[in-house]
Symmetry: C2
Subunit: 344 residues, 2 copies
DNA sequence: ATCTGATCTGACAACGTTGTCAACATTCAG
DNA sequence: CTGAATGTTGACAACGTTGTCAGATCAGAT
């Protein structure tokens, strides 16, 4: 018999009470581990629970309980195809699970409208808090949500027109550092490949790139800048295009992990991977095993996730102190690709 | 003002009714898009909703609604550190989100006790369904859950002592195929590195390995078999050990992606990566960009996730047909590492 | 025997919503 | 002008649980 033809309804606290020969309230007390129930009765209730296969109904319980806390939080991830997001999600899920809090996750695909829809969906489910990597550029609509008790923490990208805790990464200075690294190895023609400019962090990384060039008195050649790359494939194509320039770059800064992967593919396919230097923002899976291994500015998704979860939970616990912004530092991991010197 | 000091309670349907000068039921009708409310009143209600920032309370709604469906499903993932699991999760989340169903995910870390705890936690939240990559070896405890209306789909590993839909991979024959590939390239000393034997799929893959050797009339040399490798690092160490044998293997079959990564590290560090052949089960991120690129039996996480979600949703929609097991085929991707021939 | 206080127990309303059903208003046929 | 049919509307109970509070029981003190 597969899907049992006769599903019977879940027993309720009332059924348990009837079987144990006591009242609703007493069963409730036992279920919630409250004191003030005699041992004898408590045993009787517990055995009735076992016999019926009763499961406490958290939905109903939350409805009645003061504050209406649901012990669940929502998570909005910017882009599922990015391993970084997945890693942050994992950490948060793990920490939440330790506290008996459920995490519902959804991904935005960089779509601002989806962001609002999903926030609404989570609000309807009455999540206690929200961890979001936003796609939109105006978060004032969250003011209402927060006033009604929802705690909100931003991750990776800052809130706009809205004051909230945020866990961010030092995109601009991190990038500057990476580009300086290339400059120090003798490069003067450095290309920048970046994600959509509509993404705040992508913009910051480009600014960090410009900062580094300016500090080195190198004019920014617009021909060497390719932005709005949506994925690896676009990055690959853009790289191929760069390489066919009359004066191709001798080094490339890739502003995001998926972009880095596209660049690596392009360099490989043109057999230039040992000639052209490459530094990428975000670590790349197996980056240490490639040839050359990839030099990157690595984010620390575990630290990011941990900070986000810690911050959210302390808000849930009633912390009312002013909002804070946490900057999680990036680490430069030099592995080879960034240390290639220009030919000649 | 950060966290607004005065949070006001969420408005209820009752507040909306009062403001619109109508009854609870009418507001409920408008909120649910039911027919039979005059345009004029409907407009009034909607404007009251906007004015108050009212959000429908799905928790309360589900409690009352027949069947008590929560439009949420739980997902138990076997091991968060595995990119395959993450990919399956993504696909499922995406499909669920299209249907307005929330996905709560938790990971088991291969811990059977955790499995039961998490199933209970999900049951208390009254999820409509469960998608699980199980860690335990006895799922009879789920009989009760299903009788009470929870639909359950197994993924990656089959249910035991319990009849349920399952979406699996052809581990045994896939492995046989991979090992035969090595045999065809002239290898006779082939090592097998595998995950914990307590994991069903790991056992099947080993059996597939044995099948291939037997068919080729090659005795299975226990010295060349290393199992119960918990992660990349264990796999790396085991490989180093294998290489130091008097008669080291000329080829390696890695029974899982994390194992494959460990093997690659070991081969690299001993500079044997161009001498010793390698075929891995599961695709490896960037596997095409390594040197040599890695030959693998790739699973299709998107197809797996899609099948699991489709199956679960059709059960949620009332499909009562006998349970089915779906086998998602693996694809062999030959990239180089598996085509290396033995020296001499 | 009565009282006090502590301990245990249960009746009842409430959480925010929706199903049921009856009441009312309007329209149209006869 | 009546009656039936149709379309709107709202009162009320119910979903499964917990907070409140009052009642019952009992040991020990008077």
């Amino acid at each position: 018999m597969p899907e049992a033809p006769h599903t019977r309804p879940r027993p309720t606290i009332r059924d348990v009470a009837a079987l144990a020969g006591t009242s609703l309230k007493t069963v409730s007390r036992v279920v919630n581990g409250e004191t003030g129930v005699s041992d004898e009765l408590s045993v009787r209730v517990r055995s009735a629970i076992d016999r019926l296969g009763y499961r406490h109904n958290l939905t109903a319980s939350n409805l009645r309980r003061s504050g209406g806390k649901t012990r669940s939080v929502g998570m909005l991830v910017s882009n599922v195809t990015n391993p970084l997001d997945a890693a942050v999600h994992r950490t948060i899920e793990e920490m939440a699970s330790q506290r008996g809090i459920a995490v519902m996750a959804s991904s935005l695909e960089e779509n601002p409208e989806r962001e609002r829809q999903l926030v609404e969906a989570f609000a309807e489910r009455r999540v206690d808090g929200l961890i979001m990597m936003p796609a939109s550029h105006d978060h004032s609509y969250l003011i209402e949500e927060r006033r009604m008790g929802m705690s909100i923490v931003f991750v990776d990208r800052p809130p706009a027109f809205f004051d909230a805790d945020a866990v961010l990464v030092d995109n601009r200075r991190g990038t500057t550092r990476g580009v300086r690294h290339l400059l120090m190895h003798g490069h003067r023609r450095i290309a920048f490949l970046g994600d959509r400019r509509s993404i705040v962090t992508a913009g910051e990384r480009f600014r960090g790139f410009a900062d580094a060039l300016e500090a080195a008195d190198i004019p920014l050649d617009p021909e060497l800048v390719r932005q709005d790359l949506l994925d690896s494939e676009h990055a690959r194509a853009a790289t191929i295009d760069l390489l066919s320039l009359e004066q191709p770059p001798t080094a490339i800064f890739a502003g995001q992990n998926l972009v880095t992967i596209g660049v690596v593919r392009a360099l490989r396919s043109t057999a230039k991977h040992h000639e052209i230097a490459l530094v990428g923002f975000d670590d790349v899976p197996m980056g240490d095993l490639l040839d050359p291994a990839i030099t990157v500015l690595a984010q620390d998704p575990t630290a990011i996730g941990r900070q986000a979860a810690t911050t959210l939970f302390s808000r849930l616990d009633g912390d009312r102190s002013p909002t804070q912004t946490y900057i999680i530092p990036t680490t430069m991991i030099t592995r080879g690709s960034g240390e290639i010197r220009p030919a000649g």
